[in-house]
Every structure is written in structure tokens, then in C-alpha cells.
């Protein structure tokens, strides 16, 4: 690693000292320090909610710390320190949820934030020059909303580079990418750090694999506290997992998750074959409410007693497919079979699943409220809510608690519990653990498996491929509106998400639904 040879006197590209940040009574960051050496890639590792993003938002001037100091290349950053100041001093940040204006062009997005006249031609040539220099090629006149996710990410990085950024913070950059795209990005990150002694990258991630693959140094946060830091050579996958999750958690939880992800599912899947078809799609075509064709060809079956995972990069048509399977969107062509009691858990719980300012009882009443008539049995509903809270371990003040007052994890547990409340025969979930910490994630996964074991047909979409692999018995890959069933294998699924499907990688198709399915050895070659 080139970084080790960097002169020791060179000040840290970015240094945080004793940073503390509170939100109300919650201590989000407690006396956290971080040294990003010039010329290196520094992985900031931790579970969701560990404080990684908060720390970097402090570094970038988006949040004012309650204590501690920040310095860039040895020069302290004095408050008020704003993103504008950060960028002026060569620090750039690419957020997990991109900060791009979809309706504007690449060039306009790149130019945003400057002053005076906007010279489109000049910015376009800057964009092209950066493309030539770094390999991040983009059409300056393209509308950002029309670009695929990977190109939007390039646009974010180019935006930073156009401001002459030398220290780049990337927040979970691989989360939205297919595995091959993620590999390419990590290679680029390495090259960027190596290309100039003043460059450095902070890689915020919860993926051990990414950190170990590319970083020179690693800092681990757990619940707002720095629990481990040092050069990458000091760590192993196991020691990092211990640090991230805390003593005791790993042995039971992570191992179970990791084992799940890597166990062939032949027995379970075979069992499922015995189960009846619950969800069934045959050459289905779906148009969204604006009439745009989102799914061109989907043929698959989900049986009772199995979890089928759906893998896809953002914008492949999964949004429409899941809603059609849940009976919320009509199909334009083909045949779709879905039971009337199918339960659906949408990814955006605030927008699509909860009445945030209503009580939990009213939120329970919301389930299938369109099919009710007459008076609502409020007393019964309240009792059922109370029972559900205790049965599913939802932490809330009671049935009368307002949904908004619950933590994200408990909101999601409630949403899932509500979906399972009156024993549906099928469950469709979309990014069920987005924004949840490790514990809540594990609880959601357990609930999905319990639902499967109770005989439900479960269809899970997650934008995180590892989550799909962890919970699914079988895997469907969706690319550009076409569904293929593929072997439950990281590389194979990853390629299928990008539309690369060889005959060998197809596990089975509609034509051979009951064929014996074994992971094809050719697929991983």
C-alpha cells in the first residue's frame, strides 16, 4: 500500500478530534476522533445508526458539533463551518441519497453553488476534461433524471472534482450498485487516492468486504463511539464484525446471517416445491400510472412456504412489479395470480405505510380499510393492537401511541406485524430494513423467516444484494423490466442484475418449474 510510505510529517488530510454531537437527549457521537492520512483510503465502518454519516456530516459542515474540532490538511476549521467552506478547502461529500437535481442537466448540477454568470459551454468542457482525466465519463447535456444510478453517482463525484476536491467522502457508495459496478467504483477510489499525495478518500460503509478490499486504514464506530481504529492489516473480517456489533452479538447473530447467506437452500426449496403456487406471474407486462412500461416480461412463481428474493438495481421495474403482485397496479398484459389477502410492506413507511399523526390502533384499522363497511369496532381494534405490540415486540407507549413517536425500527416492526396480523397467505416486502440498525434488521429477517415457516409465500425485494442472499430461498433477478430466475450465488445474481444472463446461470424458468434445481457449477466460472 502506497500510503504507508507517505512521510509521517505530512498533516492528516482530514482530522477530527473529540467530536461530540447530541440530538436532544440522544448522544449520536461521543468524543470521536478520526485521522485520514493524505494519500490513503480510510474506511469508516459501522452498522446503520452507528453515527458514521453523522460524523461525516459534521466534517462536511452540514451539522455543527457540540464539541470537538475539525482540521483539514492541518488547518483548523473554525465555526461557522459550512459545506461551502468545506468545498472551498477541498473537501467533498457524496451522499448515500444523491444530492442531484433530476430536472437539470449534468453541467447545471456540476455548476450549482457557484456565483455570477453561468457559462454552460465552459462547465461542459470541465466535465469532459474530468472525464478524460479520471475515467468518469458523462454527457454534460444529459438530464440527470434520465441517467442510470451508476452514472448519477459518477455525476456526484464529478461535481466534487470540478470544485477541485482533494478529500472525498463517499457515503455507502456501493449500496445502490450491482456488484460489478461496485468493484469498478472501489478500483476507482483506490486509483484516486494513489494518484496524488494530497488526495484521500473516506469510505463510509457497513460492508466488511468493501473496507478490507480497498482501505489503508479502518475506523469502526458503534453507537456513536469509536471502538477500533488502525491500519487494515490489524483487522480480520471476524475482528471487524466483533467491533461493529459488540461482544456477544456476532457469534450468535452474524454467524447465523452469514451462514444463511451461504447455505445452499436445496432442501428448503424442495420442500417449497411441494407447496401450492400462491403468487404466479406469466408473461406479465406492467405499466405504471403514467403509462410507462416498467415490466416487460415477468414469469415466475412463489410457492407457499418459501422466500423468493428479488434482486435489481434501482429503477429496473421492481417498484411496479411488487405493486402489481400486491394487487395495487393492474397488469397490461399476461396473467397474474395473487390472493386477495396478500399483504404488502412498502419501502417508504412514512409515505406509504403509516398515518404518522394517528394512533397505532388507527394505523391497524388502516389495513384494508377500503374493504370495510359500517361502524369500525374500535374497542376490538385497540385490543388487537395491544396484543400485536406485545406479541411482535414493538416498543411503543401503547395502542394509543402516535405512530410518529415510535423509532424507525419499531415503526417497521409494527408495519410488518400489521401486515401479518390476520394470517395472509402471501407477503410482499420492499426494502424491509432500509435505515434500520443491526438489531432491528435481524428482527425483521427473523419475522420474514417465521412467516415462511408458517406457510406464507414470501417475496422480498432489497436493493442490497447481500440482504436478498441472506433471506431468500430462491432468487429472481430483474433487469430492465425482465425477470430471470438465477442461481442463488452472489456473482451470478450480480451479473443478472446488469442484464448478463447466460443459459447456464438460469436456475430454472417458467417452462421447467418443477425441474430439479441445483446451483450450476458453470455459473460461477
Amino acid at each position: 500500500m502506497a500510503a504507508l510510505s507517505a512521510p509521517a510529517e505530512r498533516p492528516a488530510a482530514l482530522a477530527l478530534r473529540g467530536v461530540t454531537k447530541r440530538f436532544g437527549d440522544v448522544v449520536a457521537l461521543d468524543d470521536v476522533s478520526l485521522d485520514v492520512r493524505a494519500g490513503t483510503v480510510h474506511a469508516l465502518l459501522g452498522e446503520n445508526g452507528a453515527g458514521k454519516s453523522t460524523l461525516m456530516r459534521v466534517a462536511f459542515g452540514l451539522l455543527a458539533p457540540d464539541g470537538g474540532s475539525i482540521s483539514l490538511a492541518g488547518v483548523p476549521c473554525t465555526p461557522p463551518f459550512t459545506p461551502r467552506d468545506a468545498m472551498a478547502r477541498g473537501l467533498g461529500m457524496v451522499h448515500q441519497h444523491f444530492s442531484l437535481v433530476a430536472a437539470m442537466t449534468v453541467a447545471e448540477n456540476v455548476a450549482l453553488g457557484a456565483a455570477g454568470r453561468y457559462d454552460a459551454a465552459k462547465v461542459a468542457s470541465t466535465v469532459r476534461a474530468i472525464g478524460d482525466r479520471t475515467g468518469l465519463v458523462l454527457d454534460p447535456a444529459a438530464r440527470v433524471g434520465d441517467l442510470p444510478v451508476s452514472a448519477q453517482q459518477r455525476c456526484e463525484i464529478v461535481k466534487a472534482l470540478a470544485r477541485d476536491v482533494r478529500v472525498l467522502i463517499l457515503d455507502e457508495p456501493t449500496a445502490v450498485l450491482a456488484p460489478d459496478e461496485a468493484q469498478a467504483l472501489l478500483r476507482w477510489v483506490r486509483a484516486f487516492a494513489d494518484s496524488d499525495p494530497s488526495h484521500a478518500v473516506v469510505l463510509i460503509t457497513h460492508k466488511l468486504r468493501d473496507a478490507l478490499a480497498v482501505a489503508d486504514d479502518i475506523t469502526v464506530l458503534r453507537r456513536g463511539v469509536r471502538v477500533a481504529h488502525g491500519p487494515v492489516a490489524q483487522f480480520t473480517e471476524a475482528s471487524l464484525a466483533d467491533a461493529m456489533l459488540g461482544p456477544g452479538e456476532r457469534s450468535s447473530r452474524v454467524d447465523a446471517e452469514v451462514r444463511e447467506a451461504h447455505t445452499p437452500r436445496a432442501p428448503a426449496a424442495d420442500q417449497a416445491r411441494e407447496g401450492r403456487d400462491v403468487l404466479h406471474a406469466h408473461q406479465v407486462v406492467i405499466r405504471d400510472t403514467e403509462g410507462i412500461t416498467r415490466v416487460r416480461d415477468a414469469s415466475f412463481t412463489v410457492h407457499a412456504g418459501e422466500i423468493v428474493g428479488l434482486a435489481a438495481v434501482e429503477g429496473s421495474g421492481q417498484h411496479a412489479l411488487l405493486r402489481a403482485m400486491a394487487g395495487l397496479l393492474p397488469v397490461a398484459a399476461g396473467r397474474l395470480q395473487s390472493p386477495t389477502d396478500v399483504a404488502f410492506v412498502p419501502e417508504d413507511r412514512h409515505r406509504d405505510a403509516l398515518l404518522l399523526d394517528a394512533s397505532l390502533t388507527e394505523n391497524l384499522a388502516l389495513r384494508d380499510a377500503g374493504r370495510r363497511s359500517g361502524q369500525l369496532p374500535w374497542r376490538t381494534l385497540a385490543e388487537r393492537t395491544t396484543a400485536l405490540l406485545s406479541a411482535r415486540d414493538v416498543r411503543a407507549a401503547g395502542a394509543t401511541a402516535i405512530a410518529r413517536t415510535l423509532s424507525g425500527g419499531n415503526q417497521q416492526k409494527f408495519v410488518l406485524a400489521r401486515a401479518l396480523d390476520d394470517a395472509p397467505s402471501a407477503l410482499i416486502v420492499e426494502n424491509p430494513t432500509r435505515g434500520l440498525d443491526f438489531r432491528a434488521t435481524a428482527a425483521v429477517h427473523d419475522a420474514l423467516r417465521a412467516a415462511r415457516d408458517a406457510g406464507l409465500a414470501v417475496l422480498v425485494y432489497s436493493s442490497d444484494l447481500d440482504e436478498v442472499l441472506a433471506v431468500a430461498d430462491r432468487v429472481l433477478a430483474l433487469h430492465d423490466g425482465v425477470v430471470h430466475e438465477v442461481a442463488r450465488e452472489r456473482d451470478t445474481v450480480g451479473r443478472a442484475m446488469l442484464g448478463v444472463v447466460s443459459d447456464a446461470s438460469i436456475a430454472n424458468t417458467e417452462r421447467v418449474t418443477f425441474a430439479t434445481r441445483t446451483p450450476s457449477p458453470g455459473a460461477s466460472a
Binding site: 461551502r84 442531484l100 437535481v101 430536472a103 450549482l112
Partner: protein, 315 residues
Amino acid sequence: MITPLDDFLAATVRTATPLALAALGECLTERSGVINIGLEGAIICGAFGATVAAGTVAATAGGALGLTAGFVIGAAAGAVIALLFALFTVWWRADQIITGTAITLFSLGLTGLLYKTVYGATGVGLTLPTLDAWAIPGLSALPVIGRALFAQPLITYALYLFVPWLAWWFARTHAGLALRATGESPDAALAAGVSPRRVQLLATVAGGTLAGLAGATLVLAQSGTFVEGMSAGKGFIAIAIVVLGRWSPRGVAAAALLFGGASALQYLFQSLGWTGVPYQLFLALPYVLTLLVLARASARSRAPAALARRELTLS
């Protein structure tokens, strides 16, 4: 010879002028993600401010200074009302539509109250200087459009320059980029170092200033006097004009002309001697037209993505 058509076209441009001013202001505000339903309030306050200032100053310092004072104070009154609206909506993130409605009711009531307080119940003693049309030599002699376009008050000519300038400003300045970005994605704007609050505050106040000018124009260049409730829904029509004009300055100007034409039809039909048609039909026409136009335009047009959003930033 001046034909009824010449009169109609001239009346179209004359009626369109305050509508265009207010709609351009609203366009500016909406591109930043704020829908100012209180525009009507800014117009009526602008009209009243212009009335008081022009009347008072003209009485001592002459008509020209009175007019200047009228337009300046009218614009300022619109700005103040928009600032009040921004305090609630941009600062406290209160619901833009409910606040805007309240601001409109407040302004209509307040101007009515102050008018009666200052000028008594009948408005006797209210004399105002007026901004008369000034025909541009040569151009105003052009056939058909000459009188319509080039025999108008100065404020109309100012609009001819303002519309292309605003379009240029949206597209070719970084401030314009920041404004549009705020209206589309305040998060993106914030991440790029733009303060969405600041942008929305300035855009709302600027929009209110233009609406105040529109009110001043109603008084000083058209009716020559103040009447309670004289804004008569023009603020709401202006909002419809923005939709029809698809949030672009040139489109907004063209849409304003269409509405000016609808209002001017009554003069045309009067001069043609069509007395059989009830005049209420003509009075109602701009409002009906607004409804029809909105039905046509709303479905097809795309508003700024963050328009009327309460949470400023999502993350």
C-alpha cells in the same frame, strides 16, 4: 383610423400588464418551491400602498414624484406582505396554501379597513396622478400591433425588457441555477452550499414586490382610483397563468396576454354593440377561462418538484 380591433388589442395589453407582473413574480417564487397563494394579498396591498403614497406625495410634490412614490411604495407593500407570508411558510414551514389564504383574507380586510379609515366611507377627496400611455414615435404607427404594443404606459415597456431578462437570469446565472435547484430539490441545493431558506425567502419577497407593482399598476395606470377588493381574484388568475405558462417567463407573458384578451373582450363587444349578451358573462369570462386553461395545462405540465413542500429538506 382607430378600429374596434385596435381598441381591443390595446386593452388586451393594458389588462395583461398587471397580470403579467404578478404572474412573473409568482413564477419566480414558485421556481424556488414556494407557492404563494397570498399573491392576491400582495396585489391589493400594493394597490393600497400606491394609492396612499401617490396621493400624498402628488399633493405636495407634483404628479411625477407622486407616481414614482406610488410605484415604489406599492412594490414595498407587496414585499412586506410576501415577507409576512415567508415568515410563516419559509421560516416556520407552515402550510403554504392555508397561510396564503389567510394572508389574502387579511390583506383584503386590512386594505378595506385602512381605506375607510384614511379616506372615509366614500373615498371623497382621493385624487391620484395617473401614468398615461406614452406612444413610442414610429413604432406606435405600425399597423394592427402598433398601438397595442407601443402606445402603453412605461410600466408595460419595462415588462418587455424584464421578461427576456428573467429568462436569461434563470438559465444563465448561478443565482438562477440555485433558485431552480431549490425548487426541484432543496437537499441538492443545500449540499451544493446553497441555503434553500435564503433562496426561498428572497424569491418570495421578490415575487411579492412584483405583485405589489401589479397592484400599483392597477391603481396608477388603469383605474386611477382605489376600490375595496379591486384585485378581484387577479392573484389567483396569476397563479393559473404561471401553470399555463409552464413556469417559463416567456410562457407566462404569453399566457398573461391570453387572459388580458379575455378581459378585454367586453370592451370589444360593447363597441361592436352586442347588447344582447349579459355583461356578467364577460365579467365571468376570465375566471371561466382560468378553469378551462388549468384543465388543459395542469395535466401536461410539470411543476417544480418541491413546490409547496413543507419539510424543507428530507434528510
